[in-house]
């Protein structure tokens, strides 16, 4: 099987099998089945249009295993999203008490017990690598499970479609109502739907801004119109995008806007599980009566009864029986729909299932199906995830809570004093990542007998170079190193040592001492 990488608009040719059984297709059409399913309408193909109107999809309600998984994922992910900003985490008096907070003015990211400084943005790089690799791994194991269950576009669309079904009825009712002309009731239902949608979208935008400021305070400020304008702006933007994407754009985002379908089509291989119509079992398809007749005669007959339930429940309007499809987000709802039908007609479940084309061919040859979860590519992805994740954990666990960095003065590189001594100036930045104030002793090694002094700090009585750095802060201090040797070396390595007076923790930074002969 070669994965289909071509962009495919909703099918316009009749379903497979119609060619072999034209009368069935005619019957189906006359019974409004196909008109109920506008994706299957025929269209002249001789003159390719430049633009194509969107066909509205009316996904039907469905029950079953995968629907339950989707509900669970929806409740968990949205629950986390809406509630997480309100989770508290005590960090003491000098730090915010919000468990997850992106503090742009303070330039910190708080995640429970982790606090990330801007210098540590490489953690984000590591997270992005892990995220990409997890996505690739999911894809190698079971195709677009991200798209079908976890993608925000899918989750919010699912929520919005559920609300649509509550208010405007399930597939058939909604479809007929849309074609019944305007009435007070229809307008009221449509208005109610859009109102609820906007409320959800508004709360989605509202939850977003709470990640960037203390949530309870911001909620109070928002309610009393005291919040900063930018908060209202972002709520407005995200309300608009949520309402547009989940309410109106829906599968169009997946089909036309999202790059992942294209990337995943290029990454997938023949062993990746996909939502697959087992045509070995399903074909030749036909009505229950015809199948019964064929079976009685001992002729081949498939399990697919052309009920189109799999198409009706599809949130992207795909006919899975046509094979792998760019529009298929692999949510598995067609599996649930088909299983329900199979149970009713007394045939085994999973005519549509997470499976591979290879297995279908195996079964056709009478061989056992093969499931290869461990393959070079899945092993590679898992290894990369482990290495990057392990490296990040190691760095996070062993990182220091203090640091020192040095910038040598560039202009002038050195200064000659009146007695001939050579002085170098350095700007030193000391980082204190602890949430308490700390005192550090600075010492310099490398230039013997050199005098070290702060240019902008009063001297300590005991003569030690002590710098106090406030909680969770950095402090910059200018240090002057003066060499009184008569013939200073051209350039000498110099090291700055930092020593925590209480805990004994150390940090150091290297630089050079430059003299007149220095290059």
């Amino acid at each position: 099987m070669t994965p289909s990488t071509i962009v495919r608009p909703p099918a316009r040719d009749p379903p497979k099998g119609a060619g072999t059984e034209p009368e069935l297709f005619e019957i189906a059409k006359s019974a409004e089945m196909v008109r109920l399913h506008p994706e299957l309408d025929e269209e002249p193909e001789d003159d390719t249009p430049l633009y194509m109107a969107r066909r509205k999809i009316y996904p039907q309600r469905v029950h079953g295993t995968y629907r339950k998984i989707k509900w669970l994922v929806l409740f968990v992910t949205l629950g986390i999203y809406y509630c997480l900003p309100f989770v508290r985490w005590d960090r003491g008096p000098d730090a915010p008490s919000q468990a997850v907070l992106i503090d742009f003015p303070g330039r910190r990211f708080y995640f429970f017990f982790v606090e990330i400084w801007p210098q540590e943005i490489y953690y984000l790089t590591g997270l992005l690598i892990i995220a990409a690799m997890v996505l690739f791994l999911m894809n190698a194991v079971a195709g677009r499970v991200w798209c079908g269950y976890l993608c925000p576009q899918t989750v919010w669309t699912d929520l919005f479609q559920t609300i649509e079904r509550w208010i405007e009825g399930d597939r058939r009712e909604h479809f007929l109502r849309d074609r019944s002309g305007w009435s007070v009731e229809r307008a009221a239902r449509a208005g109610a739907k859009h109102f609820v949608w906007l409320m959800i979208a508004w709360w989605t935008g509202g939850a977003w801004v709470l990640y960037f400021s203390d949530a309870p305070t911001l909620v109070r400020d928002l309610a009393t119109l005291h919040a900063p304008f930018v908060a209202y702006l972002w709520i407005g933007i995200l309300t608009l995008t949520t309402y547009t994407f989940a309410g109106h754009m829906r599968e169009q985002v997946c089909l036309y806007m999202c790059p992942w379908p294209r990337i995943q089509a290029a990454l997938i291989d023949e062993y990746a599980l996909n939502v697959t119509y087992r045509y070995d079992r399903g074909e030749p398809r036909g009505s229950i009566k015809k199948s019964a007749v064929l079976r009685a005669k001992g002729l081949p007959s498939g399990d697919c009864i052309e009920c189109l339930q799999c198409v009706y429940v599809c949130p992207t309007g795909v006919d899975i029986r046509q094979g792998p499809n760019l529009g298929c987000i692999q949510c598995g709802l067609c599996i649930d729909a088909c299983d329900a039908v199979m149970a009713k007609i007394g045939r085994p479940a999973r005519l549509i299932a997470y499976d591979t084309d290879i297995n279908i061919q195996h079964r056709q040859r009478g061989e056992n199906p093969v499931y290869k979860i461990v393959r070079p590519r899945t092993a590679l992805y898992a290894t990369i995830i482990t290495i990057v994740g392990g490296a990040m954990l190691y760095v996070l666990a062993t990182r220091h809570s203090e640091a020192i960095s040095v910038i040598h003065d560039r202009n002038p590189i050195f200064v000659r004093l009146s007695d001939g001594a050579v002085r170098n100036g350095y700007t030193i930045r000391i980082i204190n990542k602890r949430l308490e104030s700390r005192e550090f002793i600075l010492s310099v090694a490398g230039v013997a007998g050199a005098l070290v002094d702060f240019a902008d700090l009063p001297p300590r009585e005991d003569g030690r170079l002590v710098i106090e750095v406030g909680p969770d802060q950095t402090r910059e201090v200018r240090v002057l190193v003066t060499d009184y040797a008569l013939t200073p070396p051209a350039s000498a390595p110099i090291a700055f040592y930092l020593y925590d007076m209480v805990t004994g923790e150390r940090a150091y930074a290297n630089d050079n001492f430059r003299g007149p002969e220095g290059g």
């Binding site: 289909s4 071509i6 962009v7 495919r8 608009p9 099918a11 316009r12 040719d13 193909e45 001789d46 003159d47 390719t48 249009p49 430049l50 633009y51 194509m52 109107a53 969107r54 754009m249 169009q252 089909l255 036309y256 046509q322 094979g323 003065d409 560039r410 202009n411 002038p412 200064v415 000659r416 004093l417 009146s418 007695d419 001939g420 002085r423 100036g425 240019a455 902008d456 700090l457 009063p458 910059e476 200018r478 002057l480």
Partner: protein, 291 residues
């Protein structure tokens, strides 16, 4: 397109007729909403023309519906910045120089304020790093003509040196040779003597005794008997390793012959007092500041 192309059997979509390695390109129609978005962007662009200054006219330009100007936007931003800095600036204005240096927060703020002011106003002569421009004192070192304490530096900045200001620092290095106060050979002798004061090598035939006498008669009144200088008069110390114009014999002879009188403007005529305080603190903390 008039010519009809092959229809792809899998998707039912017409192809463009372009084929690479047996793969033909589908001619998938664009979604119609994309077309609407395209029109909306055009309308948006027209909106920009109307709202913002956009079109050059014969002698002017279209001003836009609300008269928005980037210059005014900057003014608003600057006003915001001033408001933001207001409390710190007020603290700076109220504090004495000694109080500024004693308060770490105020000190950091003053240095940050002083740095750009120095680059803008002082850098052209003293150099952006306040060092190594012949004839203009290096402000990093420990050699000060008029004093290196905070108040000395602030006084120099406020009223300048030999500037058009009633309180300016005033002194004169006469043109001893040009004005025929001493003779040519006396200039040369005293130049040798001055070099010997600083421990610099002098010619074996130099008449140091004569130079010493000339020095005592003419120079010592300002530079001191031992040549250590006098900050009251801005007379440089001639015994150390720092020379404003250079330590070679020809330069020293030239200075004695023609005299010197470098000028520094009185910055109180241009900068406000708070800024001058920040500037004084900045210069003081460059490295040479005296306690």
């Amino acid at each position: 397109m008039a010519e009809s192309h092959e229809v792809d059997s899998v998707t039912g979509t017409a192809t463009t007729g372009h084929v690479w390695d047996g793969i033909s390109e589908l001619n998938t129609p664009l979604p119609r909403w994309w077309l609407w978005l395209f029109y909306i962007t055009i309308i948006w662009a027209v909106g920009y023309w109307l709202v913002y200054p956009a079109w050059p006219l014969v002698s002017s330009y279209s001003r836009g519906a609300f008269g928005w100007q980037s210059r005014e936007a900057i003014e608003i931003d600057l006003a915001d910045l001033r408001a933001q800095r207001g409390p710190m600036v007020q603290k700076l204005a109220a504090a004495s120089l000694q109080e500024i240096v004693a308060d770490p927060q105020l000190l950091t703020f003053a240095r940050a304020q002083g740095r750009p002011v120095f680059a803008e106003n002082c850098g052209p002569c003293h150099g952006s790093g306040a060092a190594v421009t012949k004839g203009y004192p290096n402000l990093n070192d420990d050699d000060w003509l008029w004093g290196g304490k905070l108040d000395d530096i602030a006084q120099t900045i406020r009223h300048g040196i030999r500037a058009n200001d009633g309180d300016t620092r005033q002194s004169l290095m006469p043109a001893f040779g040009r004005d025929a106060m001493i003779k040519r050979d006396e200039v040369e002798a005293v130049a040798d003597f001055v070099r010997s004061l600083a421990g610099l090598p002098v010619d074996a035939h130099a008449d140091l005794a004569r130079g010493k006498k000339v020095f005592a008669d003419n120079c010592a009144s300002c530079h001191g008997d031992t040549g250590k200088g006098n900050r009251e008069l801005g007379a440089p110390n001639l015994t150390d390793g720092i020379w404003l114009y250079g330590a070679d014999r020809a330069t020293i002879v030239d200075v004695i012959w023609n005299g010197r009188g470098g000028i520094m403007p009185a910055w109180s005529q241009r900068l406000d007092d708070t800024t001058i305080k920040a500037l004084a603190v900045y210069v003081h903390t460059l490295g040479g500041g005296e306690k």
